[in-house]
Symmetry: C2
């Protein structure tokens, strides 16, 4: 007889064995969606020279002190500075230089007047700009370091690179980007009933779908999946595969073989390996037979052979482990609150994780379960973008309740796993309902 432990406790046991992964550098073009291994700091002030935010004329402000509509001043225009060019000889008080957005302010100038407020004139073969107002010192000048200061931490390590981070990396010359190495996650599907994806069907057999599902889940979590050959329900074959994977990968996942059937060899494999069992039963549906063990600091996840249970087991236990290796700060699935779209009248002593699709309406999130929630139906996973959390207990759940949902496609994550929040929220709603 196995004793179920709470989901929360199972997660805690897994997370006790996390470790930080290794680092590597990748070219900036390959950095999208990777996790920064070091803080990204400004390698120079931005701007690192005074520049003009507009097209206009760089001038000495003092020369406009007396200017007004009736008495405009005329300043000689020495030339034009395009963005990327400089005017190295500087200007004198009665001179100006036409300047383009982004160009460096020449020596002697302390202000820029926008081109729209001026007029150019020609006189005696020289070009002049006519200014009809007083310009303040510093007007339209972006000061050195105004946007960013050298040494400032712009993006903390543990951040996933998005297009904005890429732009920042480029700005500061990060041709090579220090990122966390993707943890290698071994996938071993067990079960004599399994066929490879390219094999023809045989009576009694089904194609291996869990391994491909996990392949996608590992990539989505930021890891590098590694396939191992399908393993029959055979003790030695299973043992050898797990042993080999332990030597090659950072974590080892098996699917199937964790129940109490005659051909469920994973518990015996853990035993022969001398692995320390963390748990072999979790108070959850689906996936109550999910197991985990540790050998020499390396973790083994025994996921269910049932697709939905396997899916949920990965998201709850494997994902935060991988994310921690990757140096993420928010390793758990983000929790949001949503309105339950259907009754769940039957109580269940175990916490349920119902595959659901969220919809947004007027700033409020609704959660509808996806198709039938039979755990053997792969197709319910197609549309799911969330898991509804229904805490175990002696009562069912009615449509319209505010329930917690775990967001599956969110990139941000959450720093903690807090099952109790859900319990308290539901408790409060039920009290209000009857008071």
């Amino acid at each position: 007889m196995r004793k179920p432990i709470k989901v929360e406790e199972a997660i805690r046991k897994v997370m006790e064995w996390t470790r930080t992964g290794r680092q590597e550098t990748v070219p900036i073009k390959e950095s999208l969606n990777r996790v920064l291994a070091k803080d990204l700091t400004a390698t120079n002030d931005v701007p690192w020279f005074k520049r003009s935010p507009y097209d206009g004329y760089a001038i000495f402000s003092g020369s406009t002190a007396e200017a007004n509509a009736d008495h405009p001043v005329l300043l000689e225009v020495l030339g034009t500075i395009g963005a990327g060019y400089t005017w190295d000889e500087g200007i004198k008080p009665d001179q100006a230089v036409k300047i383009m957005t982004g160009a460096a302010i020449p020596d002697g100038a302390d202000a820029v007047i926008m081109v729209e407020l001026t007029k150019e004139l020609e006189k005696d073969g020289k070009i002049y700009v006519q200014i009809k107002r007083k310009v303040e010192k510093g007007e339209n000048i972006v000061e050195i370091g105004e946007d960013m200061k050298k040494g400032e931490i712009l993006v903390p390590k543990g951040t996933t690179v998005n297009p904005g981070v890429m732009a920042t990396l480029a700005t500061f010359g990060y041709q090579d980007v220090p990122v966390m190495k993707k943890p290698k996650a071994a996938i071993i599907a067990t079960g004599s009933e399994l066929l490879e994806v390219d094999e023809p069907l045989e009576k009694g057999k089904i194609r291996n779908s869990n391994a491909y599902m996990l392949w996608g889940q590992v990539i989505r979590a930021g890891g590098e999946p590694v396939f191992y050959r399908l393993v029959k329900d055979d003790f030695n074959e299973t043992y050898e595969a797990v042993k080999r994977a332990l030597g090659e990968a950072d974590i080892v996942m098996t699917t199937g073989g964790v129940s109490v059937g005659d051909f469920d060899y994973i518990p015996k494999v853990y035993e022969k390996l001398g692995a320390e069992l963390l748990f072999n039963k979790v108070a959850m549906r689906p996936g109550s037979v999910t197991s985990a063990a540790v050998l020499a600091g390396k973790i083994l996840f025994g996921l269910s052979g049932n697709p939905s249970a396997c899916y949920v087991g990965f998201e709850l236990f494997v994902r935060p482990y991988l994310k921690t290796m990757l140096g993420h700060r928010n390793v758990y699935l983000k929790r949001a609150q949503a309105t339950l779209g259907e009754d769940f009248p039957k109580p269940n002593p175990f916490t349920r994780f119902v595959r659901a699709k969220l919809s947004y309406e007027a700033g409020v999130i609704h959660a509808g379960p996806v198709r039938m929630d039979k755990s053997n139906i792969v197709s319910s996973l197609i549309e799911a973008n969330a898991l509804i959390v229904l805490p175990g207990g002696s009562r069912g759940f009615t449509k319209g309740l505010q329930v917690d949902v775990l967001l599956l496609e969110d990139e941000e994550g959450a720093p903690e796993w807090d099952e109790n929040i859900t319990d308290r929220r539901l408790q409060r709603q039920r009290e209000n309902h009857f008071s």
Copy 2:
């Protein structure tokens, strides 16, 4: 003088020139996040043989007609069928076969009794199972096609492959997956002030960040970015680069050179190419100078050289174009409603798109602007996961208003662009406020 057109109209003009992209097949392992080019149909019934959903005994139900706690029946156990195996000789009414979850029901059996409800006995060297209740015909038998029917469309074309879709592909033997080819999007950054990411700083110059930002945005939208060398503010150089890119890529994006400055050559390049101008001014901030043109059915996007304007221009105009080529149904950014986290007291005649970070609280979405909203600050793009939409008009916006936000990291998208929704919603709130 350029005449600004509404964002909505600019999008419509761009979308008139969309076309569907090409198809290719990729191995299932490379299919994650790709877009299905064909409907994914069930290639066989699931299950395609009757199977047992539990560990138990396959029996003929009629043989338990008289069974009860006082008068149990004993059926001879002929053997065990592990998952993946079959029992080809069938059973007779007084016989049973032990059966594992997922295994095929043998001929002669029409029900399964769960192992927990039985007991095994040995008598005269034979094994018997003791059954103390009547078992109904069909009990615990998963019928052929119960989960999925052959020919059923499981995932429509245009769907992005997620781990659940991968599992479904594997189930039905899709070793090679028909997906949409990633559209090639050329990126040409123009500006004499630009340095490559690995070049040392020079006075008056800045490193090219837009191209790397677009690189990330193109990948995020499902396209394949193609870099072209930096182009100086020089008419011929710009013209040649754009012309070459038109011959090689599916769409061409330039950054910079679209203003009305002395060195803004993009309008002249469009002219010399003989491209039809779609627009060269949009009533939006940032990015009012965003331009678009068409040549021989191929589209050219003239994005601003200002990072924020470039970013917004891509998301509003280029993204839906690329997504349409990819066969997506929901090509626009998903709109949600969120509570405005800050006052925007200054009215603006143009629609503003403010880079923001969303937070969720008790089922309600809050939108806070990210850092300063200066359009020249790259760092404001790091944390942005949404754009707040503030429609143009003669009034400012107060904290607490329900505003529309466009979700930047959402995978689902929206089928339509509807600016008017925002206007009507704001109108309603303001009326309520003063009534």
